[in-house]
């Protein structure tokens, strides 16, 4: 019989999770995870150091503290354990489509069908081991020809970790190790039946009558005579992960390690699903001003961080690099208590990548990573692409949209472009000027448009040359007092830095217009750069 079923147990799950969230490598202090009500807390799990002090699972916390005074105590987080198990199920889904969650800390995998694909049983086992180590989980392996047998060997391995992954006969296994009801085991032991082999030798009808049909069924499932209905894992359509930091932390550098872990987990799931991710939402839960022992009520504000990618990716390094670049620009007003990672949509397959410029050569040339790097550091609002709108009003014809919004529609206006000269740069907003400071050097071009919307204009446009730079801008109306050039550039709105060194100079060619509804008002709208 082939041993195609694998039962993976995670006996240290609670401690593994704490280690994974740790900002630094574990110190040599004894640690325990406790469970149960506050007054009657019991040790759920003790680490190796604590075990040397004699701390054991099931001990009362007070007893454990007496044994190891320097004990670090963590409270068990069942929700996090469940989530971790589900993430592992998603990881296992990459190896087989038949995965089921077993209790609080075990997974059942059917590997018979995929063993050849991954280069045989041993290669597959090494791979699983490697993955789990990389993910930061310590697991025990139990193989079996049937789910029940795999579970049984996994239980044996829990008590004797040396037998993890080994194949040995089931007959000598003591009844106490089996999934049989304790009462029945006690009755059997009282009659001198101590191992599964001895139980199997008993006449079936007698076993059914004396120890119940369930006992017989269990033997049947162990031997594969009875089929077993498993509730198979189905991968979710979205991804959520929550990580509570062991200590609140206010510097973005300290978040690097836990973030890397979270993104690594995400990528494992993505790899298993053969998918990628294009948008990751991170929420940082900040400590509230009022301190509280309950985590939920001690969370104040939430800081959001969105990471968008041009191309679906599941490379943890790449995701981490982009996240870090964005994180570095964040300032947390209060310490961070935990991180929530959300991917709203997991694509079911590797999406055909759609390039922003519709040209697949860009990717080969490294343009996509470049754009991602730029927008990660500068912010999405700093990378803009043009949009040409069919409108005669110059300020409406030119639009700049964030690059991240995806391929913008560039639809040239119907009919021929305007016939006369157009400046190569355009002020986002026209600036009022003194017409005596310029010389008009072209004939007028009238633009009259927009009576149908709120932007009705009637203007005569001229090409003008500046003759008196000092008088050009009407100071009372310019956005900023002081140097005229500073006023020009501040009004560009796209630029927040002070511009001091480019100066308005006689001779520069500008695009100006007269507002025909208020003929005394002249405006500067662009430069013939």
């Amino acid at each position: 019989m082939d041993h195609t079923w694998l039962c993976l147990t995670l006996p240290r799950l609670a401690l593994d999770l704490i280690d994974r969230a740790q900002l630094t490598a574990a110190s040599g202090m004894p640690r325990v995870v406790i469970d149960g009500p506050e007054q009657r807390a019991e040790v759920h799990l003790a680490d190796a150091v604590a075990s040397t002090f004699g701390v054991r699972a099931g001990q009362r916390l007070a007893a454990a503290q007496a044994l190891a005074p320097a004990l670090t105590i963590h409270r068990r987080d069942r929700l996090a354990e469940r989530q971790a198990l589900e993430r592992l199920a998603a990881w296992a889904y990459g190896y087989t489509s038949r995965v089921s969650l077993e209790g609080a800390d075990a997974l059942l995998l059917e590997l018979g069908a995929s063993s050849r694909l991954f280069g045989g049983d041993e290669a597959l086992q090494a791979r699983l081991h490697g993955d789990l180590t990389a993910l930061g989980f310590s697991a025990l392996f139990g193989y079996g020809a049937t789910p029940a047998a795999a579970r049984l060997r996994a239980e044996v391995a829990r008590r004797d970790p040396a037998r993890s992954g080994a194949i040995y006969p089931l007959a000598p296994i003591a009844l106490g190790e089996s999934a049989l009801d304790n009462r029945i085991v006690a009755t059997l032991q009282a009659t001198g039946i101590r191992t599964l082999g001895e139980l199997a030798k008993l006449p079936r009808s007698g076993v059914a009558r004396r120890f119940g049909q369930a006992t017989l069924d269990y033997l049947g499932r162990l031997r594969g005579e009875l089929p077993e209905a498993l509730e198979l894992y189905r991968p979710p359509d979205s991804y959520h992960a929550w990580l509570e930091l062991p200590a609140s932390c206010s510097s973005t550098e300290a978040l690097a390690f836990p973030l890397k872990r979270m993104l690594g987990d995400l990528c494992t799931v993505l790899a298993a699903r053969d998918g990628g991710v294009q948008h990751v939402m991170l929420r940082f839960a900040l400590e509230s001003a009022r301190r509280s022992s309950e985590l939920r009520s001690s969370i104040g504000d939430i800081c959001r961080l969105e990471v968008g990618l041009i191309e679906a990716s599941r490379d943890p390094e790449h995701l981490y690099m982009l996240t870090r670049a964005r994180l570095e620009r964040m300032r947390f007003p209060r310490p961070v208590l935990g991180i929530h990672l959300e991917v709203a949509r997991l694509p079911s397959f590797v999406p055909k990548f759609q390039d922003l410029f519709g040209d697949s050569n860009d990717v080969a040339a490294g343009l996509t990573p470049l754009i991602e790097r730029l927008s990660a550091r500068l912010g999405d609002q700093s990378l803009l692409r043009p949009q040409w709108i069919a409108d005669h009003r110059p300020e409406r014809a030119s639009r700049w949209r964030p690059h991240a919004e995806g391929a913008a529609l560039i639809r040239p206006p119907e009919g021929a472009p305007p016939g006369s000269a157009r400046p190569s740069s355009l002020l986002p907003e026209p600036l009022p000027i003194d017409v005596d400071a310029v010389v008009l050097i072209s004939s007028a071009e009238r633009i009259e448009s927009g009576w149908w919307d709120d932007g009705d204009v009637r203007r005569d446009y001229y090409l003008a040359e500046i003759v008196d730079a000092d008088r050009l801008l009407i100071r009372g109306q310019s956005r900023q007092r002081g140097r005229a050039s500073a006023a020009v550039s501040t009004a560009t709105a796209l630029d927040s830095g002070a511009r001091e060194t480019f100066e308005l100079t006689p001779g520069a060619r500008a695009w100006v217009y007269q507002d025909l509804r208020q003929p005394e008002c002249w405006y500067l709208q662009g430069w013939f750069g």
Binding site: G358, F502, W527
Partner: protein, 212 residues
């Protein structure tokens, strides 16, 4: 990069050997070494600007590609973009990205479209500070993607310019920095420096310096 250009003359040598030229003759074949006796340098890779009088004035009779160039001007509106628009349009039509970094005033899209710029290749980068702008420009030049990058820098010091010049070298990109006239005193690592005193429509453009 420049060291590797010595390779063709030492065909049998390994890469490591080739990186250290063994004779003066080999050294003299390098692009970045020139002899004063020869007067002009070996020609740089150039592309025609589309203005014959300008091409005639430029070293190598075209705009340098893969080298940093700079234009000193008092302000926008001197015809500085129109000067290069035919070249920029041609490059964008060939699929190369045209990036405006930190301009004092964003480009007028219809005007660029009329000049033949492929709008789907146009990108405007409006960072919060000039430092970020310099960083972005360096990233673009160093990415290996051939682009046309126009940067407006006002406080860039010699060190920043040198970083850009290094990134531009061998990048197949057109790297152009617009700087205020006041920075003419600064030593420049750019291969080409043009100073515009008066609007170019009057055909008065002074070429002041050619640095190595």
């Amino acid at each position: 990069m420049s060291a590797l250009r010595a390779l063709p003359s030492v065909t049998s040598a390994t890469l490591a050997d080739a990186a250290i030229p063994t004779s003066t003759t080999e050294l003299l074949h390098r692009d970045d070494i020139w002899r004063a006796r020869e007067g002009a340098q070996r020609p740089l890779p150039v592309q025609t600007t589309g203005h014959a009088p300008l091409d005639a004035q430029l070293p190598g009779h075209g705009w340098p590609i893969g080298r940093l160039s700079e234009i000193l001007l008092p302000q926008m509106g001197m015809g500085e973009i129109e000067l290069l628009l035919p070249l920029l349009a041609r490059r964008s039509q060939a699929g190369q990205l045209l990036v405006y970094v930190h301009p004092p005033c964003p480009p007028n899209i219809p005007a660029l479209a009329r000049a033949g710029v492929a709008l789907d290749r146009l990108l405007l980068i409006a960072p919060a500070s000039e430092r970020e702008a310099l960083w972005a420009t360096e990233q673009i030049l160093a990415s290996g993607t051939p682009c046309s990058v126009l940067l407006w820098a006002e406080q860039a010091d010699e060190r920043a310019m040198r970083r850009l010049a290094l990134a531009a070298e061998g990048s197949r990109s057109l790297a152009l920095v617009f700087r205020p006239l006041a920075q003419e005193r600064q030593v420049t690592p750019a291969s080409l420096r043009i100073r515009i005193d008066r609007p170019l429509a009057r055909r008065r453009s002074a070429f002041s310096k050619r640095a190595a």
